[in-house]
Symmetry: C2
Subunit: 121 residues, 2 copies
Protein backbone atom coordinates (compact mmCIF):
# COMPACT_ATOMS: atom_id res chain seq x y z
CA UNK A 1 0.00 0.00 0.00
CA UNK A 2 1.41 3.32 -1.04
CA UNK A 3 2.09 5.46 1.99
CA UNK A 4 1.71 8.48 -0.23
CA UNK A 5 -2.01 8.04 -0.25
CA UNK A 6 -2.61 7.89 3.45
CA UNK A 7 -5.20 10.57 3.66
CA UNK A 8 -7.23 10.78 6.81
CA UNK A 9 -9.28 13.40 5.04
CA UNK A 10 -10.17 15.53 7.95
CA UNK A 11 -11.93 18.05 5.76
CA UNK A 12 -14.53 15.69 4.43
CA UNK A 13 -17.15 16.08 7.13
CA UNK A 14 -16.16 19.51 8.36
CA UNK A 15 -17.61 22.69 7.03
CA UNK A 16 -20.01 23.62 4.29
CA UNK A 17 -22.23 26.09 6.04
CA UNK A 18 -20.69 29.57 6.25
CA UNK A 19 -19.20 30.86 9.48
CA UNK A 20 -22.04 33.36 9.65
CA UNK A 21 -24.49 30.49 9.46
CA UNK A 22 -25.97 28.25 12.13
CA UNK A 23 -23.95 27.46 15.23
CA UNK A 24 -21.43 24.71 14.58
CA UNK A 25 -20.83 21.85 16.97
CA UNK A 26 -17.64 21.14 18.86
CA UNK A 27 -16.81 18.25 16.61
CA UNK A 28 -17.20 20.23 13.42
CA UNK A 29 -15.12 23.04 14.87
CA UNK A 30 -12.39 20.59 15.83
CA UNK A 31 -12.16 19.14 12.35
CA UNK A 32 -12.21 22.53 10.69
CA UNK A 33 -9.48 23.68 13.03
CA UNK A 34 -7.23 20.92 11.73
CA UNK A 35 -7.59 22.29 8.22
CA UNK A 36 -6.71 25.81 9.34
CA UNK A 37 -3.83 24.48 11.41
CA UNK A 38 -2.46 23.08 8.19
CA UNK A 39 -2.68 26.52 6.60
CA UNK A 40 -1.33 28.31 9.66
CA UNK A 41 2.29 28.20 8.58
CA UNK A 42 4.09 30.45 6.10
CA UNK A 43 5.95 27.57 4.49
CA UNK A 44 2.80 25.51 4.00
CA UNK A 45 0.92 28.49 2.59
CA UNK A 46 3.66 29.03 0.06
CA UNK A 47 3.64 25.32 -0.73
CA UNK A 48 -0.07 25.36 -1.47
CA UNK A 49 0.41 28.50 -3.52
CA UNK A 50 3.26 26.96 -5.51
CA UNK A 51 1.37 23.74 -6.06
CA UNK A 52 -1.89 25.47 -7.04
CA UNK A 53 -0.15 27.80 -9.45
CA UNK A 54 2.08 25.13 -10.94
CA UNK A 55 1.90 24.11 -14.60
CA UNK A 56 -1.00 21.73 -15.06
CA UNK A 57 -1.96 22.38 -11.45
CA UNK A 58 0.76 20.12 -10.16
CA UNK A 59 4.34 20.39 -9.03
CA UNK A 60 7.17 17.93 -8.45
CA UNK A 61 8.52 17.74 -4.91
CA UNK A 62 11.98 18.16 -6.39
CA UNK A 63 10.95 21.66 -7.47
CA UNK A 64 9.51 22.49 -4.07
CA UNK A 65 12.55 21.69 -1.96
CA UNK A 66 14.66 24.14 -3.93
CA UNK A 67 12.20 26.98 -3.28
CA UNK A 68 12.93 27.07 0.45
CA UNK A 69 15.98 27.23 2.65
CA UNK A 70 14.83 24.11 4.44
CA UNK A 71 15.89 20.50 4.36
CA UNK A 72 14.00 17.95 2.28
CA UNK A 73 12.61 16.15 5.35
CA UNK A 74 11.10 19.40 6.58
CA UNK A 75 9.38 20.03 3.26
CA UNK A 76 8.20 16.43 3.28
CA UNK A 77 6.76 16.96 6.75
CA UNK A 78 4.84 20.04 5.64
CA UNK A 79 3.49 18.22 2.60
CA UNK A 80 2.26 15.46 4.87
CA UNK A 81 0.42 17.92 7.08
CA UNK A 82 -1.29 19.46 4.06
CA UNK A 83 -2.10 15.98 2.74
CA UNK A 84 -3.65 14.84 6.01
CA UNK A 85 -5.73 18.00 6.08
CA UNK A 86 -7.21 16.98 2.75
CA UNK A 87 -5.84 20.03 0.98
CA UNK A 88 -3.44 18.33 -1.43
CA UNK A 89 -2.75 14.89 -2.80
CA UNK A 90 0.44 13.30 -4.05
CA UNK A 91 1.16 10.80 -6.75
CA UNK A 92 4.38 9.01 -7.53
CA UNK A 93 5.33 8.81 -11.21
CA UNK A 94 8.55 6.91 -11.57
CA UNK A 95 11.30 8.55 -9.59
CA UNK A 96 9.43 11.71 -8.72
CA UNK A 97 6.36 12.59 -6.68
CA UNK A 98 3.89 15.18 -7.90
CA UNK A 99 1.43 17.09 -5.76
CA UNK A 100 -1.87 18.74 -6.68
CA UNK A 101 -4.37 20.75 -4.68
CA UNK A 102 -7.77 19.21 -4.11
CA UNK A 103 -10.14 21.77 -5.66
CA UNK A 104 -13.14 20.75 -3.55
CA UNK A 105 -11.20 21.53 -0.38
CA UNK A 106 -10.48 25.09 -1.48
CA UNK A 107 -14.02 25.62 -2.71
CA UNK A 108 -15.38 24.41 0.61
CA UNK A 109 -13.20 26.89 2.48
CA UNK A 110 -14.22 29.70 0.17
CA UNK A 111 -17.85 29.07 1.03
CA UNK A 112 -17.04 29.13 4.72
CA UNK A 113 -16.26 32.83 4.58
CA UNK A 114 -19.29 33.78 2.55
CA UNK A 115 -21.34 36.52 4.13
CA UNK A 116 -25.13 36.42 4.36
CA UNK A 117 -26.51 39.81 3.37
CA UNK A 118 -24.04 42.12 1.76
CA UNK A 119 -26.70 43.20 -0.74
CA UNK A 120 -29.17 44.54 1.76
CA UNK A 121 -28.00 47.13 4.20
Amino acid sequence: MSKLLDVEDVSASACCAPLSGPVMGEEEAAELAKVFKALADPVRLRLVNLIASGPGGEVCVCDLTGAFELTAPTISHHLKVLRQAGLIEGERRGTWVYYRVIPEALTRLSGLFALPALTSA
Copy 2:
Protein backbone atom coordinates in the same frame (compact mmCIF):
# COMPACT_ATOMS: atom_id res chain seq x y z
CA MET B 1 -6.50 55.03 24.94
CA SER B 2 -8.82 52.10 24.90
CA LYS B 3 -6.88 48.87 24.97
CA LEU B 4 -9.84 47.20 23.35
CA LEU B 5 -8.96 48.76 20.08
CA ASP B 6 -5.36 47.69 19.87
CA VAL B 7 -5.50 46.11 16.50
CA GLU B 8 -2.24 45.43 14.77
CA ASP B 9 -4.32 44.50 11.77
CA VAL B 10 -2.16 41.82 10.36
CA SER B 11 -4.62 41.05 7.62
CA ALA B 12 -4.55 44.44 6.00
CA SER B 13 -1.64 43.93 3.66
CA ALA B 14 -1.84 40.17 3.34
CA CYS B 15 -3.84 38.39 0.72
CA CYS B 16 -6.12 39.43 -2.06
CA ALA B 17 -4.85 37.32 -4.90
CA PRO B 18 -6.13 33.74 -4.78
CA LEU B 19 -3.89 30.90 -3.66
CA SER B 20 -3.96 29.61 -7.20
CA GLY B 21 -2.68 32.95 -8.41
CA PRO B 22 0.83 34.35 -8.72
CA VAL B 23 3.52 33.20 -6.33
CA MET B 24 3.32 35.01 -3.01
CA GLY B 25 6.34 36.38 -1.20
CA GLU B 26 7.63 35.23 2.15
CA GLU B 27 6.32 38.34 3.85
CA GLU B 28 2.82 37.96 2.50
CA ALA B 29 2.81 34.30 3.47
CA ALA B 30 3.91 35.16 6.98
CA GLU B 31 1.13 37.68 7.48
CA LEU B 32 -1.50 35.38 6.02
CA ALA B 33 -0.28 32.61 8.28
CA LYS B 34 -1.05 34.76 11.31
CA VAL B 35 -4.66 35.02 10.20
CA PHE B 36 -4.95 31.27 9.76
CA LYS B 37 -3.21 30.68 13.07
CA ALA B 38 -6.02 32.68 14.62
CA LEU B 39 -8.55 30.38 13.00
CA ALA B 40 -6.60 27.22 13.79
CA ASP B 41 -8.31 26.54 17.09
CA PRO B 42 -11.71 24.96 17.71
CA VAL B 43 -12.64 27.45 20.40
CA ARG B 44 -11.75 30.44 18.25
CA LEU B 45 -13.65 29.02 15.28
CA ARG B 46 -16.73 28.62 17.42
CA LEU B 47 -16.24 32.12 18.76
CA VAL B 48 -16.16 33.59 15.25
CA ASN B 49 -19.18 31.49 14.37
CA LEU B 50 -21.11 32.64 17.42
CA ILE B 51 -20.18 36.27 16.87
CA ALA B 52 -20.98 36.21 13.15
CA SER B 53 -24.31 34.54 13.69
CA GLY B 54 -25.28 36.67 16.66
CA PRO B 55 -28.29 39.00 16.61
CA GLY B 56 -27.34 42.19 14.82
CA GLY B 57 -24.03 40.58 13.94
CA GLU B 58 -22.66 41.15 17.40
CA VAL B 59 -22.43 39.31 20.70
CA CYS B 60 -21.68 40.31 24.27
CA VAL B 61 -18.62 38.69 25.84
CA CYS B 62 -20.81 37.78 28.78
CA ASP B 63 -22.76 35.49 26.44
CA LEU B 64 -19.61 33.95 25.01
CA THR B 65 -18.04 32.82 28.27
CA GLY B 66 -21.10 30.78 29.11
CA ALA B 67 -20.91 28.87 25.84
CA PHE B 68 -17.64 27.13 26.73
CA GLU B 69 -16.32 25.17 29.63
CA LEU B 70 -13.40 27.54 29.89
CA THR B 71 -12.52 30.35 32.25
CA ALA B 72 -13.18 33.97 31.33
CA PRO B 73 -9.48 34.79 30.96
CA THR B 74 -9.11 32.02 28.41
CA ILE B 75 -12.02 33.31 26.34
CA SER B 76 -10.59 36.79 26.62
CA HIS B 77 -7.26 35.49 25.35
CA HIS B 78 -8.88 33.88 22.32
CA LEU B 79 -10.81 37.05 21.54
CA LYS B 80 -7.58 38.98 21.65
CA VAL B 81 -5.96 36.61 19.17
CA LEU B 82 -8.88 37.00 16.78
CA ARG B 83 -8.80 40.77 17.25
CA GLN B 84 -5.10 41.02 16.50
CA ALA B 85 -5.62 38.94 13.39
CA GLY B 86 -8.06 41.58 12.16
CA LEU B 87 -10.97 39.16 12.16
CA ILE B 88 -13.14 40.75 14.83
CA GLU B 89 -13.44 44.03 16.68
CA GLY B 90 -14.72 44.84 20.14
CA GLU B 91 -16.57 47.81 21.54
CA ARG B 92 -17.36 48.63 25.14
CA ARG B 93 -20.88 49.87 25.81
CA GLY B 94 -21.28 50.62 29.48
CA THR B 95 -20.62 47.56 31.54
CA TRP B 96 -20.41 45.10 28.68
CA VAL B 97 -18.16 44.55 25.69
CA TYR B 98 -19.61 43.55 22.32
CA TYR B 99 -17.75 41.88 19.48
CA ARG B 100 -18.43 41.89 15.74
CA VAL B 101 -16.74 40.20 12.83
CA ILE B 102 -15.00 42.43 10.30
CA PRO B 103 -16.77 41.54 7.04
CA GLU B 104 -13.88 42.62 4.81
CA ALA B 105 -11.61 40.12 6.53
CA LEU B 106 -13.92 37.21 5.78
CA THR B 107 -14.51 38.37 2.21
CA ARG B 108 -10.78 38.61 1.66
CA LEU B 109 -10.30 35.05 2.87
CA SER B 110 -13.13 33.81 0.69
CA GLY B 111 -11.38 35.20 -2.35
CA LEU B 112 -8.16 33.52 -1.36
CA PHE B 113 -9.67 30.11 -2.05
CA ALA B 114 -11.21 31.03 -5.35
CA LEU B 115 -10.23 28.73 -8.16
CA PRO B 116 -9.23 29.94 -11.61
CA ALA B 117 -11.02 27.83 -14.19
CA LEU B 118 -13.73 25.57 -12.86
CA THR B 119 -15.85 26.34 -15.89
CA SER B 120 -13.45 24.94 -18.43
CA ALA B 121 -12.27 21.38 -18.07
